[in-house]
């Protein structure tokens, strides 16, 4: 799970936003927010946060398919802010949230 509960920012972006490597950050879009660990990306990537595809970001992507069946999973405007000691959800916590409305199950 540690490979997908991270996000990557380049050195300039980390400096600009006051984020230390390994620190937790909140990524917010108009669809939701998530907390992940920030890692340094060694390459050009100005003003971009790169996040691996995982259940941890499914609430911040744009589900709208624009009538062609495909949601927008990349190129989504987002805000990134440091959150000292932020809680990265465990998979079970995430799934419990998804299951929340069902009322007849859990684990």
């Amino acid at each position: 799970m540690e490979n997908v509960t991270v996000c990557y920012l380049d050195e300039d972006s980390m400096k600009k936003l006051g984020i230390e490597e390994g620190e937790t950050v909140r990524i917010s879009t108009k669809h939701g927010s998530t907390i992940l660990k920030a890692l340094k990306f060694h390459g050009e990537q100005p003003n971009i946060v790169f996040v691996p595809y995982s259940p941890w970001i499914n609430n911040i992507v744009n589900p709208d398919t624009n009538g062609v069946g495909m949601p927008s999973l990349k190129g989504i405007p987002a805000e990134v802010e440091p959150v000292k000691g932020g809680h990265v959800l465990k998979l079970e916590e995430l799934l419990r949230g998804i299951l929340g409305s069902r009322n007849d199950g859990g684990f």
């Binding site: 499914n58 744009n62 495909m70």
Partner: protein, 433 residues
Amino acid sequence: MMEVFKAVTCPVCACLCDDLEVTVDKGKIVDVKNGCAFSKSKLLNYNGKQRVLKPLIRKGNDFAEVSYDEAVKQAAKLLTEANYPLFYGWSMTSCEAIRVGIELAEEIGGVIDTTSTICHGPSTLGIQDVGLVSSTLGQVRHRADLIIYWGSNPLIAHPRHMERYTVFSKGRFQEKRKLVVVDVRETETAKKADLFIRIEPNKDFEVLQALRVLIRDDELDVEKVAGIPVATLEKLAEMMVECKFGALFFGSGLTMTEGKNRNVDAAISLIRDLNRITKFIIMPMRGHFNVTGADMVFTWQTGFPYAVDFSMGYPRYNPGETSAIDILLRQESDAALVVASDPVATLPRKAAEHLVKNPLIVVDPHMSATAKLADIVLPSTFVGIEAKGTAYRMDNVPLPLKKIVEPPTGILSDEDILSKILFEVRRLKENAS
């Protein structure tokens, strides 16, 4: 005694590398040669603690172990009682299993869709709009002198693509090639490029159309397109025009961003234009090992490549309406069968929330995130490890998947499980009539 299986096809990504050498000792895979890190990881660790070894039915907060017969009976009942069930997944199983899945969806009158719908579905739409100039990967390996990866990072996502087919391979007629990478970030692949063009996010369409202008020797009356100086684009256009055989591979950087299928239209149109000047092909970098095969089987059985709706008694295809995510977002499905996929982990949250409100049946070797939230879990074998079958490489070449080891005692293949559900559904329908 140790046994070495040669020419094993890798069941991980759509490169379908078919040169693996797998060593088996006492029924267990102990070594994998020629495979990438993904391949080795899957083949050496597939039988881990997340393996499901008994069919399961949800009882409140827990699962109860049941027989296959009981789980199949319950699954068939849930599906036949539904009005608009969704059959989703299919990219990590064999063509033979997919064929049975389509028959099941037709028998019940549901909607069947593949993971293409959330990956290269827009590529299919683009290809349907403007056609496709393509070739096999073998032709690229032996003849291409210019390789372009656009919105794709093969060193990470398809680790042996460059080694087997493009810049790190030695072809019969072509050994050296130029590499161009177009991406929003300087990826690992970009660092290996002769020319890396960093594009602003969501601006691929503009750049592709600008290149169409430049290869015709026309001029652009702007200084930059999508943050790229026109001089840089002119350099790329010159490389494209001057090559003898070019190949453009595109990834989800085109399909998942603004423009979606229109980005793919523009990319294919650029390649079509280039073929008036030189030889150029274009190919989507398909992901899961048999997502291409799913498109194939869907097309030859229904006439359509994905998002097929049988609810009217005949196949209908209208991505945006009959595609899985739209159906889930509109909260229309009332049951779901998920095979060889993990939609709870991969779909947008709102779509996953409706999926788990449905009576949910999962056919999977592992206790995936989707299986954890299912009502019925039917454990299956790993195709290409414990069961044989057929898969299609990203260039539409079919390859055999081998059975290398025996599955755990009593575990059935996807094809057998789906056949049993289909048989039970037909029995229930006969009884009802």
